[in-house]
Amino acid sequence: MDAGKYFGTFRACYGIKNAIILNHAPVGCNWGTMIYGTSQNLNDLRMSSSIMHEQEIVFGGENTLKETLISMDTNYDTVKNPLLVLLVGDIPSIIGDDVSGIVDDVEIEKDYVIINAEAFKGDAEKGYEDGLLRLYSLISKNFDKKTNVEKDTNINSINLIGVSIDDYKIEADLKEIKRILKEFNIDINCVISNCTYSEFLNTPNADLNVVMGQGFEFAKIMQKEHNIDYVSVNYPYGIEGTKKFVKSIISKLENNIYKDEEAFELKYNSLVDYEPYKRASVYMNGLYSVPVSIIGDFKAESMAEFLSQELGMDIEVVAHFGEDYKTDVLSSYTTMIFGSSFEKGLSNDLDIPLIRYTYPVFDNVSLSDNIPYAGINGALCLVEDILNSALSRCGKFKYNI
C-alpha cells in the first residue's frame, strides 16, 4: 500500500534535521507521521499539530493554526531550529483555510515554507518530489554562491538525493556510501533528505546531483537555475550494484582520475574482500535458485538485481507498494520476502522469513552505523542476514495423514 502524498512530503522535509514540522491536520496525521518518522530514533520529535477537530470543520482551522504557529515559533529556539515547515493536510485544504493569510499575520521569526500535501493529490513519490520543490524556494531566497572559496580541483562534490531520515539503516548506509566515494575522490556535499538546514541551503555548491529513485524535479530545477548536471542511479546494493553506482557518478564528473577504466577497476577491486564470504561459501551455494520476492519503493529493483545477479536467487515477484502484489506472492514459490515491516503479514501467511530493508521499518531498529545494507560492506551484511534468517528456521515435518 502506498503511503500517500502527505507522508512523502513529510519525509522530504523531516530529513532536514533541525527543521520543525507543523502538521495542519487532524490528530491522526500527526500521530502517523510521528510514529513512522521516529521509528529509528525515538527521541527525534520535532513536530506538532494544530489538532483540527469537528469545530474546525465548521468554523475553519485558522485560529488553531495561528495558536500553533505562535507556540512553535516561540518555543523552539530559532538558532537551533531555524526552519519551520507548515504541512497543510486534506481537511484544511478542502475547507479552504487561508493558511498564507494566517502566516502573514503571525510574523514568524524562523525561515518557513508552506507546503500543500493533500493525500488525495498523489502518491508518496509525488509528495517527496513536491516537498523538495517547495523546499527549493528556500535555496533561491537564501543561497549565497561562494565564489571566493578555494576548491580542491582533485575532489568532486556531489549531492545525494532520494533518501529519508527514517529509512532503515540510513546512517550505516550513508557512512558506507561516503567511505566508498571518498576512495574515488568524491565528497558528499549534502544528503537529501538527511542534512541540516545550512547543508541544504548549500546544495548549489556541488558539482553534480545524484538522484536515487526520487527527487528528480529538484535536480531538474537545480540544473536549470544553477547549471548543475544530475545523474539517475540505482540504490547501491551488492558489490556489482555499488560498482555500477560509483561508475555512473564518475561518468558525469570532470577531472576525476577514475574516469580511466583501468584505474577504476584497480581501485574498486582493491576495496573488495571476498575472504569473509569464503567462510560461508557452502551455505551460499545453497542460495542459488532459491525463489524470493521483493516488495518496496524505488529500492526494490536494485535489491532484486543484487539477489539475482550476485547471489543467483530466483526472483518470483518484484512489486512496488502501490501495486496489488499479495495474490502474486501467495501464488508464487517464494521462500523469503524482502520488504518493509508491513510484509510481515505476508511472511506470516506463508511462514517464511522476512528481510526488512525498506521504509517503513517499525519492528526492527538499526543502531550501529557499521552494519549497512548498502555498498560493499552492505553486501556482506545482507548475505549474513539472509543466511541467518534461513539457518535459524526450525521446524519439524509433521505427517498430516
Binding site: M1, A3, L42, N43, L45, S49, D90
Partner: protein, 540 residues
C-alpha cells in the same frame, strides 16, 4: 517433591500455558513496544480510525475497507492499541482528487463488491476517514442499496463512524477523574461515560447495532444453540493486551463450572447471531453496546468496574452475574459456592506469600489514577503489605489535561480514604530522586511500575510486567501477581547477580527531571510542551 518429566507433552503444554510464563513471554514479544506508545502519547494522540480499524480486524472471517486515501489506510494499520500486531491486511478505496470533487460513493460500492468477490468474507466493515466524512459521502446509502440488491449473499456490511476529526474533547478526562474521585466513596455511583477518540467504542457499538436484528432475535430466541439453560455474552475483542484476554478466559472458565454457557462476542458472525438469545451481557469496557441490547432485546448486563478488583471484588463480580442472570435458587447457591471455593483456594495461596511479604516495609509508587485507592487496597488487604508511603506520580494526569484543582481534589480523596480505612500511610507527590532516596531509608522496598527511574541504587521492585494483573476480576491473576512479587524480592535478596544501576547503559543518559524516561533534550521537551499547550486551548 516429584520432579516434572520435561519430556512429557502434557508438562510442556502446562509450562507453555503457565500464566506468568505466558505473560512474561508475551511482554518480551509485544509489551516492549508499549513503552514507546506511552512515550508517544506525550506528543499526540491517534485518531478514531486507528482504534476502529484495529478492533474491526479482530472479527473472524471479515475484511476491512478504509474509505479514504491510501495515506490513512497505510498509516492506521499501526495502532497504539496493538503496536505489536499491526493490521497487515486492509483494503482501501484510494480516494483521489476527482473523488473528493465528485464523491467517492461509486468507488466504495465497487470496492465492496470487489472485496466480496475476492474473499467471500462473512462481514465487511467500512471505515470512513476524514475526507468522506467531510464531503458527506452517503455510506449508509451505498450499504443499503447493496443490501437491497442482495448482491452480497451471506455477507453482512457494517459501517463505523470513524472520521478522524471527531476525537475526544480536551476536558474529557477532567470529567472522568472528577466522577471517579466521587465514586471511590460510593462505588455504585460510578457514572457511565464515553471517551471518543480511540475508535474502539464506536466500532463495538456499530457491530452490535448492525449485526443484530430483531428478526434474528426472534429466530434465535427459541433455538437450542447452547447446552445449558443460561448463557452470557462476554465482550471479547478490542481488549488491549493479552492480560485482558487472560481475564476473559478466567471468567469464562468459572462461569462454565457454574453451568453457564459463554458466548464470546462479537468474535464472528455466528457469535453475533447467538448473542441475542443470551440471558446476560458482561461488559469489559464501555456499556453503550450493552445498553442498546437491553433496549432491543431486554438483555440485562453486568459491567466490570474498579470495585470488582481484588479477592472480595472478584467474588462480588461473579455473584452479581449469578444474581442478574436469573438462576433458580438452588443453582444460585451452587454457583456462589463454586466461586467461594475458588476464592478460598486463592486466599490459601495468598497466605503463604503474605507471610513472607509481611516481614518487610514498603512504599508503593503509582501513576495510574482512576482506580488507585482500590489497587492499593489489594496490596493492603489481599497481600497484607505494611505500606508506609504511597508515591503518587501526577504527571500522567497532567498529560491527560486534568487541572491542578482536580488533581488536588483527587489526592485529598485518596488521603481521606486511607484515614477511613485506618491506614497510616504518608502520600508523597511526584518524588524526585532525592526524595526517593529519603523514602528508601525508611522502607525495605519500593514497589514500582514502568515510570520509576532505574538510574539510582534505590531498592525498587519493578512490577510493571505484571501490574495489569491487579486490574482484573480473576483469582488466578491475583495470586500469580503475589507469587511474582515474592520471587522478585527473593531474587533481590539472594541472587549473585545484583544489579548496580549506575553501571547500566541507560544510566549514562541525562533524563528530564520531571518526565522520566524523557531525555534531557530541549527539542522533544518543547514538542511535548507545544502539544499540551494546543491541546489545552482546544474546545474552550
Amino acid at each position: 517433591m516429584k520432579k516434572d518429566n520435561l519430556n512429557d507433552e502434557t508438562t510442556k503444554n502446562r509450562i507453555k500455558k503457565d500464566i506468568l510464563s505466558y505473560t512474561l513471554r508475551d511482554h518480551l514479544f509485544n509489551g516492549i513496544r508499549q513503552h514507546s506508545n506511552w512515550q508517544y502519547h506525550k506528543y499526540g494522540i491517534n485518531c478514531k480510525l486507528s482504534g476502529a480499524l484495529n478492533t474491526a480486524v479482530e472479527l473472524e472471517n471479515s475484511k476491512v475497507i478504509v474509505h479514504g486515501c491510501s495515506h490513512c489506510a497505510f498509516n492506521q494499520r499501526l495502532s497504539p492499541r496493538t503496536m505489536y500486531d499491526p493490521a497487515y491486511d486492509v483494503e482501501c478505496t484510494n480516494m483521489t482528487e476527482k473523488d473528493v470533487i465528485y464523491g467517492g460513493e461509486e468507488k466504495l460500492r465497487a470496492k465492496i463488491i470487489e472485496v466480496y468477490e475476492k474473499y467471500h468474507p462473512k462481514i465487511i466493515t467500512v471505515l470512513p476517514s476524514c475526507i468522506p466524512g467531510l464531503i458527506m459521502d452517503d455510506i449508509t446509502g451505498v450499504i443499503a442499496t447493496l443490501n437491497d440488491e442482495d448482491i452480497l449473499k451471506d455477507c453482512k456490511l457494517v459501517y463505523v463512524s470513524s472520521e478522524g476529526f471527531s476525537h475526544r474533547a480536551k476536558n474529557a478526562f477532567e470529567r472522568v477523574m472528577k466522577d471517579y474521585t466521587k465514586a471511590w466513596k460510593n462505588p455504585k455511583d460510578v457514572p457511565n461515560y464515553e471517551i471518543r477518540g480511540c475508535g474502539k467504542q464506536e466500532a463495538l457499538y456499530s457491530f452490535f447495532k448492525q449485526l443484530y436484528t430483531l428478526k434474528e432475535y426472534n429466530n434465535d430466541k427459541n433455538n437450542d444453540k447452547f447446552d445449558s439453560s443460561k448463557v452470557v455474552n462476554i465482550e471479547s475483542i478490542g481488549l488491549q493486551g493479552f492480560v485482558n484476554k487472560l481475564e476473559v478466559e478466567n471468567i469464562s472458565k468459572i462461569l462454565k463450572r457454574a453451568s453457564i454457557d459463554v458466548n464470546l462476542i462479537p468474535a464472528n458472525l455466528e457469535h453475533c447471531k447467538n448473542a441475542s438469545s443470551a440471558d446476560l451481557n458482561v461488559v469489559m469496557g464501555n456499556i453503550r453496546w450493552a445498553e442498546r441490547m437491553k433496549q432491543e432485546f431486554g438483555i440485562k448486563y453486568v459491567k466490570k468496574w474498579f470495585y470488582h478488583y481484588g479477592i472480595e471484588g472478584t467474588e462480588q463480580f461473579f455473584n452479581e452475574i449469578f444474581e442478574e442472570i436469573g438462576l433458580e435458587e438452588e443453582e444460585l447457591i451452587n454457583a456462589k459456592q463454586i466461586v467461594k471455593e475458588e476464592k478460598e483456594k486463592a486466599v490459601d495461596k495468598l497466605k503463604d506469600y503474605s507471610e513472607f511479604l509481611g516481614k518487610y516495609k514498603y512504599a508503593v509508587y503509582t501513576s495510574g489514577f482512576f482506580t488507585t485507592p482500590y489497587i492499593l487496597k489489594i496490596y493492603l488487604e489481599d497481600y497484607g503489605l505494611p505500606i508506609k508511603y504511597v508515591l503518587l506520580d501526577t504527571k500522567s494526569l497532567k498529560n491527560l489535561n486534568i487541572s491542578d484543582e482536580t488533581i488536588d481534589e483527587t489526592v485529598e480523596s485518596i488521603q481521606k480514604l486511607f484515614d477511613e480505612w485506618n491506614y497510616d500511610i504518608k502520600i508523597v507527590l511526584n518524588p524526585e530522586i532525592e526524595e526517593l532516596n529519603d523514602v528508601a531509608e525508611n522502607v525495605d522496598y519500593i514497589l514500582g511500575d514502568r515510570h520509576l527511574p532505574y538510574i539510582e541504587n534505590i531498592p525498587i521492585i519493578n512490577l510493571h510486567l505484571v501490574s495489569s494483573f491487579l486490574y482484573r476480576s480473576s483469582f488466578d491473576l491475583l495470586t500469580e501477581f503475589s507469587k511474582y512479587m515474592v520471587r522478585k524480592i527473593k531474587i533481590k535478596q539472594n541472587s549473585k547477580y545484583q544489579v548496580d544501576n549506575s553501571k547500566l547503559i541507560i544510566s549514562n543518559f541525562d533524563y528530564d527531571k520531571v518526565h522520566y524516561p524523557l531525555l534531557d533534550e530541549e527539542v522533544p521537551r518543547n514538542s511535548m510542551k507545544i502539544w499540551r499547550e494546543i491541546w489545552a486551548i482546544k474546545s474552550e
